[in-house]
């Protein structure tokens, strides 16, 4: 019995000729593709190496310089103004931690619902207004963050004679987070197939119910990533806060009083770091901040993986 692939059977057949031509071109490009592929892999490897070297170096630096300052006191006491006679760091950054929780908490509470609802609206609407909002968000994510601080300062403090407070810091961070959440959640809402939305609508469910009970859960892992992205960015912001939160040395939960935050503790420690003890606040705070962001990342990864597994 003859085994044929068709090639060479009927040389005049245009289909066979084209098949031979196409396959030879494809085969000819295999070597080039392999080279390009290997080259790209190499570039990726180098990029990874560069990025991870910097990261490892930063973490190493933080641990080396900051770790031995971290003790219970570091979290439970407010800072002392160190004198040249002190050998050990006595105070901590309780005020900054509490301030960060208050400020970031306010920002999250406002930015998550606003950002996700706006993202959903953008995902379902195609009109001039939606496009305008989309481009505005685009521009806002590109602005230097200090502008949001200046804006809140001009608007709330100069115009409306509001005073420095954690709440204003929260507002400034909200303005940074909303466009980020909006853009990223629009993408995850759009990734939910239209047929799923339509199946819900066809059960006689209202658009709102379809959005909250069917589409949002389907988009949840992506939304989580959106929120995390925005939070990681906001937690480390210093510039917008400097303008609007004032300063404090005694921890408080009040959003109406002047506040401080962990990145500001780093900033102050470096800025005023004439003595090693003042710099200690900065190194310890930086290490703590990086650890917090890292934990948030890991936690949300695990949560997202859990949400995905629930589906199967």
């Amino acid at each position: 019995m003859s085994v044929t692939t068709g090639i060479g059977e009927l040389p005049a057949d245009p289909i066979l000729e084209r098949r031979a031509l196409i396959q030879s071109i494809a085969r000819g490009s295999l070597a080039r593709r392999a080279v390009v592929s290997r080259l790209m892999l190499g570039v990726c490897g180098l990029a990874f190496l560069a990025a991870s070297t910097v990261l490892v170096w930063i973490v190493y630096l933080l641990v080396a310089k900051g770790f031995h300052w971290i003790s219970i006191n570091f979290f439970t006491q407010d800072p002392l103004t160190p004198t040249v006679f002190q050998q050990n760091l006595l105070g901590g950054i309780r005020n900054a931690i509490r301030g960060s929780i208050v400020i970031d908490g306010i920002a999250l509470v406002i930015a998550i619902p606003v950002g996700i609802v706006a993202g959903h609206l953008l995902a379902v609407s195609e009109n001039v207004f939606a496009n305008a909002v989309r481009s505005t968000a685009e521009v806002m994510t590109g602005l230097p963050s200090i502008l949001f601080g200046i804006f809140v300062y001009e608007f709330m403090i100069i115009r409306f004679h509001s005073h420095f407070s954690g709440f204003l810091g929260g507002l400034a961070l909200t303005m940074i987070m909303v466009p980020v959440i909006m853009k990223a959640s629009e993408i995850s809402f759009r990734a939910v197939p239209a047929s799923i939305r339509e199946a819900g609508l066809s059960l006689g469910l209202s658009k709102g119910v379809v959005a909250t009970r069917i589409v949002t859960p389907a988009a949840a892992p992506g939304l989580l990533t959106a929120v995390l992205l925005a939070t990681s960015r906001a937690v480390g912001e210093t510039a917008p806060l400097i303008w609007v939160i004032g300063n404090n040395y005694v921890a408080t939960w009040s959003p109406y009083k002047q506040q401080t935050a962990i990145p500001i503790a780093i900033y102050n420690g470096i800025l005023n770091g004439a003595s090693p003890l003042q710099q200690a606040y900065a190194w310890g705070s930086a290490l703590f901040l990086v650890a917090v962001v890292l934990c948030m990342n890991l936690g949300s990864r695990l949560l997202a993986a859990f949400l995905r597994r629930e589906r199967h």
Binding site: M1, T4, P14, R18, L21, I22, Q23, A26
Partner: protein
């Protein structure tokens, strides 16, 4: 083998007096003990048959019997499925598809696939869809692209409908037309074998009939392996029929392979008879 007029042939295949066995002609593909498992769980076990050249081979069987799984093994699509493992031999011509001699991308060029739902590339025009397989594989010559597109669209019985609007988006076509566009796209790279997974199950009867008519013309050009749930369709369009059934452990097994006419009129296995008479599945 209950028929008195069954005679053995050199290849071991059977032929009856009035039914011609398509496996006696040229062979496009041979499967030898092909098994597919997902994460260690067997989905298809020990399937062996020969795909006749320039004929239509139908894979039939109840839902979950592994038809799609087997089909995807034939152009190495399981390479991109996590946890999937293919064992056994699949010969295209004389080359084992899973050997190192042949690159997976070349395999997929030689063994094309048409899916259950029409899936034209959404951002491309009709023309760009049809020639995408050529263009992205390095074919640049305009004349070759034009000629291949026209030939594939004619073969897919779509040329007259679209020749004046090749620049339009593929989504402007109806579902049936989109599916024929996908057939044209698969044909444009001139595959030797075309795999089709329930290509008409998402289509209306008229579009279905068009595609069925198309298949009988396409087999002059390419060997076809088609999965179908529709017994009448299998009987109408195929030359050879492969019946799969889930075994006790849930893995699909090959129950019977026979020329279509024989399988539908005089099946050897009791279970085939039960299935084609609609007693289960």
């Amino acid at each position: 083998m209950d028929s008195a007029i069954t005679v053995p042939t050199p290849s071991g295949a059977m032929t009856t007096g009035d039914v011609e066995d398509p496996r006696l002609g040229a062979i496009a593909m041979r499967l030898k003990d092909v098994s597919v498992s997902f994460h260690g769980r067997m989905a298809v076990r020990d399937v062996s048959f020969e795909v006749p050249d320039k004929r239509v081979t139908a894979l039939i069987g109840p839902s979950g019997s592994g038809k799609t799984t087997l089909l995807r093994a034939l152009n190495r699509l399981h390479d991109v499925t996590r946890g999937a493992k293919v064992e056994g031999e699949i010969l295209l011509g004389n080359t084992n598809l899973y050997s190192r001699e042949i690159h997976p991308t070349l395999t997929r060029m030689r063994v094309g696939m048409v899916f259950q739902r029409p899936n034209p590339f959404p951002t491309m025009s009709i023309f760009d869809n049809v020639v995408s397989g050529l263009r992205f594989n390095g074919v640049r010559k305009r004349a070759v692209l034009n000629e291949a597109a026209e030939s594939a669209l004619i073969a897919a019985a779509l040329w007259d409908r679209v020749k004046d609007r090749l620049k339009m988006h593929a989504s402007s076509l109806s579902g049936g037309e989109q599916q024929r566009l996908c057939i044209a796209r698969a044909l444009a790279v001139e595959p030797e074998v075309l795999l089709m997974d329930e290509p008409t199950s998402a289509l209306d009867p008229v579009s279905t009939q068009r595609i069925e008519e198309l298949l009988s013309e396409l087999k002059a050009r390419v060997s076809i392996v088609i999965v179908t749930h529709n017994m009448q369709q299998a009987a109408r369009i195929s030359d050879l029929c492969v019946f799969l059934l889930m075994g006790d452990d849930g893995a699909g097994e090959q129950i019977e392979v026979a020329p279509t006419q024989k399988l539908f009129t005089d099946p050897t296995d009791r279970r085939t008879l039960d299935y084609i008479q609609g007693r289960f599945g």
